[in-house]
Subunit: 285 residues, 2 copies
Amino acid sequence: MSIIMKGSEVAAAMKEELLREVEKLARKGIVPQLGIVRVGARPDDLAYERGAIKKMGGVGIRCKVIELSESIGQADFEQEFSAVDNNPDIHGILLFRPLPRQLDEQSVRNMINPKKDIDCMSPVNIAKVFSGDESGFAPCTAEAVMEVLAHYAIDVRGKRVTVVGRSMVVGKPLSMLLLKKNATVTICHTKTINLEETCRNAEILVAAAGKAAMITADFVSENSVVVDVGINVGSDGKLCGDVDFDAVVAKVASITPVPGGVGAVTSSVLAEHVVRAANSLNGLS
Amino acid sequence: MSIIMKGSEVAAAMKEELLREVEKLARKGIVPQLGIVRVGARPDDLAYERGAIKKMGGVGIRCKVIELSESIGQADFEQEFSAVDNNPDIHGILLFRPLPRQLDEQSVRNMINPKKDIDCMSPVNIAKVFSGDESGFAPCTAEAVMEVLAHYAIDVRGKRVTVVGRSMVVGKPLSMLLLKKNATVTICHTKTINLEETCRNAEILVAAAGKAAMITADFVSENSVVVDVGINVGSDGKLCGDVDFDAVVAKVASITPVPGGVGAVTSSVLAEHVVRAANSLNGLS
């Protein structure tokens, strides 16, 4: 019987810890607050925003949404962003990306206070993730994978872990988080020759390629632990991961579903980052 | 017959290109200059410094050594460093590390102008290496490995490359440079289980563990390309790499010796970085 690693269970455990942390802050008169900066109103962003606000509300984190015009110029954008960055009541900032074409993302990456940069935009946090310095903030999705593995007591130490995908939001930072925990990490991508074998040979397989159902039964073995980070729209119009779940589930040791897997943990990591930022900005822990 | 990949051949080819580049700068009235900041006078640093000065001189790059007292305080150190950083005639800065205990390395990492940071201390350059942005400077030794592979026409694209070692000066940045060139990269380290097999399974094996002669004949196959980044003192008191050269050389396709391999290319990369910095700081190419 394969174990289905459910994001909701991980999120529930994280919620308890978050409630305790927020309560501790409240006793010091601090209410952690997330600033959400959104340029325009893309449906995807709005959907994520609704989810994030609900998640934050559920653990006592305040949210402030700063909605800016899709046609805003660089100077005005920087001024608005700077106001959020300098607002002492806002501890973490989430900026929806990509930004519209007229805006320079690099300049905001260099501008954001690294202590409020809870989704790893700043070179300071990127460099920390790369070097294994845990005092920074890793991208939330990459960290969500680590939370799932930890919750299901899957020790990565010394294990062969194959990561498919090398993006800066999942594949690469996740590889560094795994390396920090002493996994032996192989990073695969579209140019990898014999991807099937490399995946099948892994004890833990993380699919973060963004390609619907590309991981079939040939990519796994009986002992595989499979973590699916993909969120795609399948040929049937339904949400699906990078893993062909139905074909793989019976064959492997454990697997995360999509939806209801890693994606369900990401906003919990975001909340954890806001709480950590609130502590750090107030000189606590 | 195994091919011995000699650093001197790589360096000779790089020298020709460097001479051309320096000549081009000269026609614009620019003499590239390296600033070497040394705190104290460790014999290792002095030896590297002599080699670097000789290498720079050979291609027409000027050197300025700023020697500071081993007991210098943070404020004085920052003032001295800042003077070098702001000197428009100095295009690249090499700072010997580790710094003495009383000095804060992190502060100088954040202080250095990323455009003069030719050995990848600044978070800006570290983040660039991680993200695959080639406009920054990678650590010289990591890049020297890429130069050796390129010179000997070893295409890494799609290949299984195993890197042993995960330091921030070689293992990790090199893995990112290899990934950028579309290699399938496996990062191994002291906690890797079954290291022998993982190494033997690689088409290209890079040893950057800092452990004398740890790579024996059992770690390689007939088709292995072996690059040895280690510089250790062996049990016989002689310089040796991470690879047991005599035991491995006859078995593999090609291999770099130690000394005379990657180490002989590092200062050529440093020179190339100074020239690139001189161009970039002057708004050229």
